[in-house]
Symmetry: C2
């Protein structure tokens, strides 16, 4: 069996690699657009192909609620359902469930919660979370973990860590879909000792990759960066390293420099819908009156469909009158920005010039 | 100067022709997708190119309100603003203004109304409606007309007709944009005598094309069909004939058989967004539970992006969870259906087999 992950180049702690999945090879570092309900909001699968995204993320919790994982399975799995021929990573559903404050009850076996759709009583366990992901047929399934608030007392953090470890062991005992990879998740909030301790528990388990969970959940960016800089280099070298739910362009560059390989975040897609469009060195807010008369594209030289064909003035008009087309064009632009940024970092690693790449973007690696 | 309209073939009263505009030749009969606010809702200009739409409609009233015709002009006109290299027809704004019941006051010079955006007092006259269209730089500008309710008393209809005639004469005296064509509008509701009378007033004016207005505004389809069958053949042969705001697939086929050349309607686009998807011989409602598990496309053999890549089950999921992608896929399908239907009718006219084409679709021409 060929290895899941091949490291191709290093530059400091940063790595460029190849992640082999059932649906193609993913060049890392990589940013994964978020397709919560089996669609990256406003985009068709053809749009994502045109953006050259090799892998996207889908949310187990949302798909389990609607349309249901059994239905997706009966229609040939998530790839077939959403007509996406490339790789898919599914989260375990845990994060969504634990974000339902007051509407969920955790025990050592799993978690009981209310559906956000119809209020019905639902339950997720390590076994059922993995079974749902097997039904969906994703290329990478995430272990079912407990993600406590980052400011929780240490005893709560420790209890969540030990539950996550116990659940991780149960996850690897389940039957994956054919060819499905599985990643473990390291918790421990922003406490470096807890992070090291939990990493030591998760790393020996037979996961194909390793993730840092529970970051970018409200702590200051500098704190998160410090955790990633410290922990990333300690994670197994021979497996892909995934920083969950992160982040801003700066966050990505810092984490890449620290040795992380994979990222997902709703920021580019959600910000786009709210009018925030990323440009080199920052962003613009398309709602600002100054853009309403501007014939220039969002970013000169950008190769996305929005910038190739339309002006800021046109996007500002569409945004103001709430036309559906705005959401797609803005999403295409922001994802193009993120994917290009991360591909550029990969190339810089391969060419051993990542520090310069970061410095040009005002980031201290 | 080459003629604006060339008749290529006839089949009974039906015609196939070529309409020459500043932005390309339009093969007729033709259906024009409606792009009210400088976008066909949910679609990019590239989508419309992929659908092979040679001409779209934009609404003068909406664009005058937002973003304003002066701004569009300063950005190079509507084609440049919305990145659409093919033909555009603009309506005159009259229809939208007259639909504002109780918020508008008509006099012989024009109409005063309140903006639907900010309630501000606005005025449109034949001269200003044409000036706005000249600013927008559309390929075809419509005369500013008065469109009364179809059940208005005859004296109101007559007053609207004489105003429309007086306004038409003022419209042709204004300065168009370079190369801009202008079409006159025949009113008269569903009264055949009034229609003939008004046609006799409008036809002698130096318009490049002739439209029937005030139909499909609430009267029974059979009544509308009777008016079109009677009046279309009386309209000038050497100019394109445009049936405004019509209609269902059956309406289009009946009107094509009667000799009409151009059509616009929000039906395919608006219905799409409401879940109604056209298929040969009728439509489906994607919200019906039966589609939720159906792996088949909306229509077998349909060449649109929605049918080439996605199942009814996927579209039903997107519709149910209100994902933005649904609106684009559904709109692509319905416009593909309409455009294909009308292109098929054109081909049938050229091949002198239109009656069979209609009969196959259950329509008596």
């Amino acid at each position: 069996m060929s290895p899941v992950f091949i490291q191709q180049a290093r530059c400091g702690n940063a790595r460029a690699g190849l992640l082999h999945t059932k649906h193609g090879v993913v060049e890392t570092p990589v940013f994964m657009p978020v397709g919560t309900q089996a669609t990256v909001k406003s985009l068709a699968s053809g749009d994502l192909e045109a953006l050259d995204a090799p892998i996207i993320l889908a949310n187990t919790y949302h798909l389990a609620m609607r349309p249901g994982s059994g239905l997706v399975r009966s229609l040939g799995g998530l790839h077939s359902f959403m007509s996406w021929p490339r790789a898919i990573l599914t989260d375990s559903g845990g994060y969504q469930v634990f974000s339902h404050k007051g509407r969920r009850k955790i025990d050592d076996d799993g978690v009981t919660f209310q559906s956000h759709v119809d209020g019905s009583r639902q339950r997720l366990t390590p076994e059922s979370a993995m079974a749902i992901q097997a039904d969906l047929g994703s290329d990478i399934a995430m272990a079912f973990d407990e993600c406590p608030p980052s400011d929780a007392p240490v005893k709560d953090l420790r209890r969540a860590m030990s539950r996550t470890t116990a659940w991780a062991k149960r996850c690897v005992e389940t039957q994956p879909a054919p060819g499905q990879l599985r990643f473990g998740i390291v918790q421990g909030a922003i406490d470096l000792d807890l992070r090291r301790e939990h990493l030591a528990e998760i790393a020996p388990l037979p996961f194909d990759g390793m993730a840092l969970g529970g970051l970018s959940v409200g702590e200051p960016p500098a704190t998160m960066h410090a955790v990633v800089r410290e922990i990333a280099p300690l994670m197994p070298e021979d497996r892909p390293r995934y920083l969950m739910g992160v982040g801003t362009p700066t966050d990505l560059l810092v984490a890449i420099a620290a040795g992380m390989d994979m990222f997902d975040c709703v920021m580019p897609t959600r910000s786009a819908r709210n009018g925030r469009l990323f440009v080199r060195g920052g962003h613009i807010n398309i709602a600002n009156a100054v853009h309403g008369k501007d014939p220039a594209p969002v970013e000169e030289g950008c190769g996305c469909e929005a910038c190739r064909r339309y002006s800021r003035a046109y996007l500002a008009h569409l945004f103001r009158v709430k036309e559906i087309l705005y959401y797609r064009l803005a999403t295409l632009h922001n994802l193009h920005h993120y994917l290009t940024l991360v591909r550029g970092a990969r190339q810089a690693i391969i060419e051993n010039r990542l520090p310069a790449y970061l410095a040009e973007r005002g980031v201290a690696g």
